[in-house]
Symmetry: C2
Subunit: 217 residues, 2 copies
DNA sequence: TATAAATCGATAATAATTTATCGATTACGG
DNA sequence: CCGTAATCGATAAATTATTATCGATTTATA
């Protein structure tokens, strides 16, 4: 009987650090390095080295070598695998305004396993257009498209007044994960995962940091 | 001698929940409500009621009343005060591309204490333009402007290849808090606060949630 | 006016996360 | 080829964050 190590689950905190490592490691690799130590990573990213080792232990099949550290290539693969970047998620985007267009144009998502396959809007001025190769369809077509292509992820970039409607529509069409850029809380069935992209919250955090800094001086 | 209650510091987690409460409470107020209970908040936002009470205790001067809950107006003021929304931060933005323009157009920041007073770019096609009333200046003018207006916050929306340069420039000009939308880690003096707006990290989190959900079924 | 239901704050218990410590291992320089 | 310094992984300790419990308080109502 094969014993499988009951893998410790990665915490939210760990998961959100992984893309940071990934970016850093890719840069290092590009710069020609082959190895990197947890100490070096920690120093550069202002983290605790033990924490870095723990995070990496979760995603890396190889272990690090004393005095050398980890093999970059192997680490990168490990993180990519763990984050499921290999098996990319298809997604639809709803709301082709300023923010929506910006996201459609952003190439970087491909590096993190996201593939936006279609966009939707009610505004006839954008319907039929292509942005960065992605077609914009009439909003009415969303459910059909989502079902037909069996898409599980949706991105909401509509005004807050209609975000809940769009979310309901997405959920009813079979979408199981929503990335919400509209500044409202969404009420959705429990089984639907929601990630709020909350600029206000980020800002609050930064503002607090700033005030703490200024107070210290 | 006056004893000041050594106020428990709000954790990062709390601080990032505050804007969520704030939005929710403002909506409630607009809907005509006068009071709200921690239970109600928790239910709607899918949080633990005790956690809500603890969070609110940090920012609210009044305490809640049994059977009634908290006074909406008072809570809102409390959060606004705490987040420093009253004493707004001026900021400059650097990089008037797709994302930069989107942020300049976004009205919502005013509700959270951010006031973008000027934008900078090296692209002569945008220099001299106004976006949402905010003038775009030549990048060279950044240090002078920042110093003259004594601005403490900077927003980086330039391509990753130049982000570090811009960050250095900002820091040298006296900026103490940077909101970085470029997908790179920045090396900066310790006293400069940095908040990374990392879409890749968000995406990773959502992707994980999605996979967990799909696996469960 | 007494009772029931909802809610609060405080405190205690639990869980999660981060940080410290330490012995073992390995490359590198003398 | 040996000692030194860097690094690792594992385990333990400390810290931080969340959740549960409980007595007290207040409103609404019978």
């Amino acid at each position: 009987m094969i014993e499988v190590k009951a893998d410790a689950v990665a915490s939210k905190a760990t998961i959100s650090r992984l893309p940071v490592y990934l970016r850093f490691l890719r840069d290092k690799l590009k710069a020609g390095d082959e190895n990197v130590s947890s100490t070096a990573i920690a120093e550069e990213l202002r983290l605790n080295p033990v924490q870095v080792r723990k995070d990496l232990a979760l995603v890396s099949s190889e272990s690090g070598k004393p005095k050398l550290g980890f093999r970059l290539k192997e680490l990168i693969e490990g993180i990519e695998n763990f984050l499921g970047i290999c098996n990319t998620h298809d997604a639809v985007l709803c709301g082709v305004g300023s923010l929506g267009s910006t996201l459609l144009k952003y190439e970087g998502f491909k590096n993190y396993g996201l593939n936006i396959v279609a966009a939707f809007d009610t505004n006839s001025a954008v319907i039929g257009k292509k942005i960065n190769g992605i077609s914009v369809f009439a909003y009415d077509a969303l459910p059909k498209t989502v079902k037909r292509l069996n898409i599980k992820m949706g991105i909401i970039t509509v005004p807050k007044s209609v975000a809940q409607n769009v979310a309901d529509n997405m959920a009813q069409s079979g979408i199981m994960a929503i990335w919400n850029f509209a500044p409202v809380h969404l009420s959705l069935p429990e089984e639907v995962a929601v990630k709020y992209e909350d600029l206000a919250a980020s800002l609050a955090l930064l503002g607090k940091k700033l005030e703490d800094t200024l107070r210290k001086e």
